[in-house]
C-alpha cells in the first residue's frame, strides 16, 4: 500500500495507493523505478466512488484551483499545473480509464505528445500504428502482426518533437504480451475501418489529421 514510482514515456509518476480493494494499477510491463529524481506528478488513488460504468461521457470543470474530470465511475481532481492528482474510482475498469484520462491530459498539458487509441507493431525497428474506435480491429491487427513485436495493443503513447514522432511502450495494455522494447520511431499510421474486403488507401494529411482527432484518449 506504499508509494510506487512508475516511468511512463519520459516522465516519472509516484502513485500513493489508498485503494481498499486490490486492483491492478498498470501493466506489469510498466517500469518501476527508484525515486532518484523528483516525480513529475504524484497520483493518489482512492476507491468506494460512484457507480459502475454507464458511458464514456466525461464532465470537465476548470477553476483556478483545480480541474475535475467526472464520469459515473470515477472522479479525477488535478491541480492546474498537473503536479498532483487524486483519483476516486468505483472499480478496476474505472481506475484504468481514469489513469489513461489523466495521463492523456498530462502529456497534452505539457505539449509533450498524445495518447492515441491504437495498437502498435514493430517492423525492422520502426513503429506502425493501427488506430480506430472500439471494435474497429486494433487488437486483431496486433494479433495478426505476430511474430512482429508489439509496443501496445490498445493505446499508444506518441512523443511529438520537431525531429519526429517516437512511440513508447504503453503500460495501458489489455491482454497481449508487449515487447521488451521501450520505444521506436513512428513509420506509419493505419486508420482501421471494418470492411468485407481488405485494402490500404493513402489519404491526404489533412484528412488524416481530421480522422485522428477523435482517436486521442481522454
Amino acid at each position: 500500500m506504499g508509494n510506487i514510482s512508475f516511468e511512463i514515456g519520459d516522465h516519472i509518476f509516484v502513485i500513493q495507493n489508498k485503494l481498499v480493494k486490490p486492483m491492478k494499477i498498470l501493466s506489469i510491463k510498466s517500469r518501476r523505478v527508484n525515486e532518484v529524481k523528483a516525480p513529475d506528478m504524484v497520483i493518489r488513488l482512492e476507491d468506494n466512488y460512484g457507480i459502475p460504468f454507464i458511458d464514456y461521457d466525461v464532465k470537465i470543470i476548470k477553476d483556478h484551483t483545480k480541474i475535475t474530470y467526472q464520469r459515473s465511475d470515477y472522479l479525477i481532481e488535478v491541480d492546474p499545473d498537473y503536479k498532483e492528482a487524486t483519483l476516486y474510482v468505483h472499480d478496476e475498469l474505472a481506475l484504468k480509464h481514469a489513469l489513461m484520462n489523466l495521463y492523456s491530459s498530462f502529456i497534452v498539458h505539457h505539449n509533450w505528445g498524445l495518447l492515441i487509441h491504437s495498437s502498435c507493431a514493430i517492423e525492422k525497428g520502426k513503429a506502425h500504428i493501427f488506430s480506430g474506435q472500439s471494435g474497429a480491429g486494433k487488437s486483431t491487427a496486433a494479433k495478426l502482426s505476430h511474430p512482429r513485436e508489439l509496443l501496445s495493443d490498445e493505446a499508444s503513447i506518441l512523443k511529438i518533437t520537431d525531429q519526429g514522432v517516437t512511440v513508447y511502450n504503453s503500460p495501458f495494455n489489455s491482454e497481449l504480451d508487449s515487447s521488451d522494447l521501450e520505444e521506436a520511431s513512428l513509420a506509419s499510421i493505419q486508420l482501421l475501418h471494418q470492411s468485407l474486403s481488405n485494402r490500404r488507401e493513402k489519404i491526404s494529411k489533412s484528412d488524416a489529421l481530421l480522422q485522428l482527432i477523435d482517436k486521442v484518449f481522454y
Binding site: 491526404s204 494529411k205 489533412s206 484528412d207 489529421l209 481530421l210 482527432i213
Partner: protein, 88 residues
Amino acid sequence: MKRYIQNKTYDVTRLDDEYVVLNTDNYTVTKLNGVGGFCWSLLHEEQTVDSLLEAIHKEFPEDEQPDEGEIEEFIMDLIQCELVHHVS
C-alpha cells in the same frame, strides 16, 4: 458591398496545400482546399467578394478559379462555422 473578416479565436495548420482550421471557441474543425485557405488568409483583413475574386485571379490558374457564386457560398459556410463574420 458587404465586407467580411475572420473571427479571432482559431488555430490553423497548413498541410501540403490544404488548411485545417480549429475554432477554439466551439471546437469545430474545418478543412479548406488551397483556394479556400488562400481566401482564409486574406480574411485576416476585411475583404469583399470582389476583393477575394481579384486576389484569386492573380494567384491561381484559370481552371482553379471559383466564380462569384462559389465565393459567396464559401463565405456563408465560413460564417456558419463561426470562423468569419460580416462587418457592419
